[in-house]
Amino acid sequence: MPNTSVVIIGGGISGVAAALNLAQRGVAVDLVEREPRLGGNTLDVCCKAVNGQCQHCGGCLVAERLRAVCAEPLVTVHLSSTITNIQPAGDTFSYQLVTANVKQAKSARAVIAATGFDHIDARTKGPYGYGALSMVITGEDMERRLRAEGQSVYDCAVLRDVAFIQCVGSRDEHANRGWCSQVCCRYAVRLARLLGARSPQTNITIFKMDIQTAGRDSQAFALAQQEGIRFICGLPAVVRRSEKDSAKAALLFDDINTGQFRTNEFDLVVLATGIEPRSDALQLAETLGVERNRFGFLASQDGAALSIPGIFAAGCCQSPRSISESIVHATAAAEACYRYLQEHTQ
């Protein structure tokens, strides 16, 4: 399909996967990434292999695609860039590509938004003491450190009791944050298994509502249970500094077996934070003229198509997903986009 070009906003794994698919089918792509590098949030995802055995977290699906997209002649990557002033003009869209304050007028036959997500800020969940208590960290922190410093960073004899708290900032209808972030059960169970395998003396407890295992993921959960990781139904009410030992955190939770409040102490508390719409998602939706759902993710009626023909969404900007699910969704978005181009080009 010559002389057609598509602009993809966002160079995370979703934007990259969509760009690769379109380019390999002969469509020229402008891939616009705001940061000075491609990869987005996947660059913080660590390898969770336990004793060299892969846990299928999806982390290594990224590097090879980043390499491929840079080698793809039909993809032009614009780093440290963004776009403004998108206007439909007949069968095309005109827009401005902004790179370091230099503006350039361009046009495209179709647009794919792949702007991804923001990490949930654990401070929104005040009672858990993130930011104030040094032994309270987030899943994001843990992934980052493991990735940057290697699998041994949490190997230490003083970690006797570790707690994970699920759904921090997700699945909370009262705060209008009723969505499930989809990835935090998966990464938390895997990180817990990794910690447990590296430090057998560590007791691990996961406080959860419902562990999300759909999508052929029940194996990791079953293994975690076999390995002695304790799952407790119900999320703690508060996390405080322990009165007995100021290096420890005290978790107050409702024990459904006894119906009473209990306090347990932990050396490390990991808040399983998830995925929320980007802080500038509203601005993007307005620039594109498309709708958002009640939580702020880009709304699509049918898979990837947004409310304006010719504009599509790929990956986490449309709904929380894992890396492999993002690749699948982005490929499906590329497919919808290609079909649209076929119908709108003679």
Binding site: H56, R171, E173, C180, R216, G303
Partner: protein
């Protein structure tokens, strides 16, 4: 190049794949063990209902599938293959832990009664008082089963105006659909309870299920479908020489070469619920994904090998077959080199991963860069 795609499987998933491929103007050969669902009439579609694949040869770009389709045999030449055979459901009686009793039903039976006219629905109004829907009863229910069961529970509540409760262990939710479905259900008075380990007890007075806060008594117990890989998955995987996961679903679990939707063999793709757990919306997106991957292959004028591939030195080879066993991509076969027989790498099928070279006991395999013109490579394969 032949642009026919063989779609294997008579499931709804396969139907969506066929639709996507026809929209891209590829020729489709659709093979199903059963009758095939209705599909759009199209010149590009040849359907082979009630047919079984009995042999597969060739490689990406030129697969040949032999079908045993009584009364005659058929042969399909296809450039690519999409496996979309779906999954299967175990009948309720398959597990002895579920008591056989008229008060215990599958979702399918309940759905039939729900749409039947009142007088023949087979349930006396008195029995309609409290219906329990159980997810995760014997094993954790997947997304497809959860969506179906919850939608059915809501429909039952709306149609029969009876009391409805849902039992679960780990409730599967998502970012929108399921969260709003469960919320609507709760708003309409449907109560959710977390199951305890004990099995349901059924007697003439009703069904009794233990849950986290006590025992729930109901009149009917509806069990969410237990979904399994199709029993013929292993046979097809063997014929196609593609990998199954430990759980019996299609998926290549070799870390270095796992690609969503791609099998371990070039030119063979996976779509739908034969390789993932998804509701209908997810399976549709996956069909689009599979078609998009096939389109990359068929969009080319000539197939090209990878830039680095393996090559067997036929005079060194001692025919130990190690490489044929170790190649994760089924890219090595035995072939005649003049008078001698030795291992031979099928160039188009090779990923260049080097596993064969690393394992050959006599170091007969080298990795070579390709600089031969493309037309020559294609000619060599015919």
């Amino acid at each position: 190049m032949n642009k026919t795609v063989a779609v294997l499987g008579g499931s709804a998933d396969a139907g969506w794949v066929v639709e996507e491929l026809l929209a891209l103007s590829y020729s489709v050969a659709w093979v199903g063990q059963e009758d095939l669902p209705d599909s759009p009439r199209s010149d590009g579609l040849r359907a082979y209902p009630r047919s079984r694949v009995s042999a597969v040869s060739g490689c990406v770009g030129s697969f040949r599938l032999e079908l045993s389709a009584p009364p005659e045999r058929a042969v399909i030449d296809a450039a690519a293959i999409i496996v979309a055979m779906g999954n299967q459901r175990l009948p309720l009686g398959a597990d002895a832990r579920i008591p056989a009793h008229p008060r215990v039903l599958s979702t399918q039976v309940l759905a039939e009664r729900l749409s039947a006219p009142r007088q023949i629905s087979g349930i006396a109004p008195a029995q309609r008082q409290h219906i329990l829907f159980a997810l995760d009863m014997l094993e954790l229910s997947g997304k497809q089963a959860v969506v179906e069961t919850l939608e059915l529970a809501l429909r039952t509540h709306d149609t029969w105006h009876c009391e409805v409760s849902v039992l679960y262990r780990e409730l599967q939710v998502d970012s929108d659909l399921l969260e709003s479905l469960t919320r609507t259900m709760r708003e309409q008075g449907i109560v959710f309870h977390r199951l305890q380990d004990a099995l349901p007890v059924v007697d003439d007075s009703g069904v009794h299920v233990k849950h986290a806060d006590g025992v729930l008594d109901g009149d009917l117990l509806v069990i969410a479908p237990v979904v399994r890989p199709r029993s013929d998955s292993a046979e097809l995987a063997g014929l196609l020489r593609i990998a199954l996961g430990a759980d019996g679903y299609f998926q290549q679990l070799n870390v270095r070469s796992y690609r969503p939707g791609l099998s371990n063999r070039k030119g063979i793709y996976l779509a739908g619920r034969c390789h993932l757990d998804a509701d209908d919306a997810g399976a549709r997106a996956d069909a689009a994904q599979a078609a998009a991957n096939v389109a990359i292959l068929l969009g080319q004028d000539h197939l090209q090998p990878e830039t680095v591939i393996a090559e067997v030195g036929s005079t060194k080879c001692i025919r130990c077959l190690t490489c044929i066993r170790t190649c994760p991509h089924a890219a090595v076969e035995l072939a005649a080199y003049g008078q001698v027989t030795a291992a031979k790498v099928v160039e188009l099928a090779c990923f260049g991963c080097g596993a064969c070279a690393a394992n050959c006991p006599v170091r007969a395999i080298t990795m070579k860069g390709i600089d031969v013109p493309v037309w020559l490579q294609e000619a060599a394969l015919v």
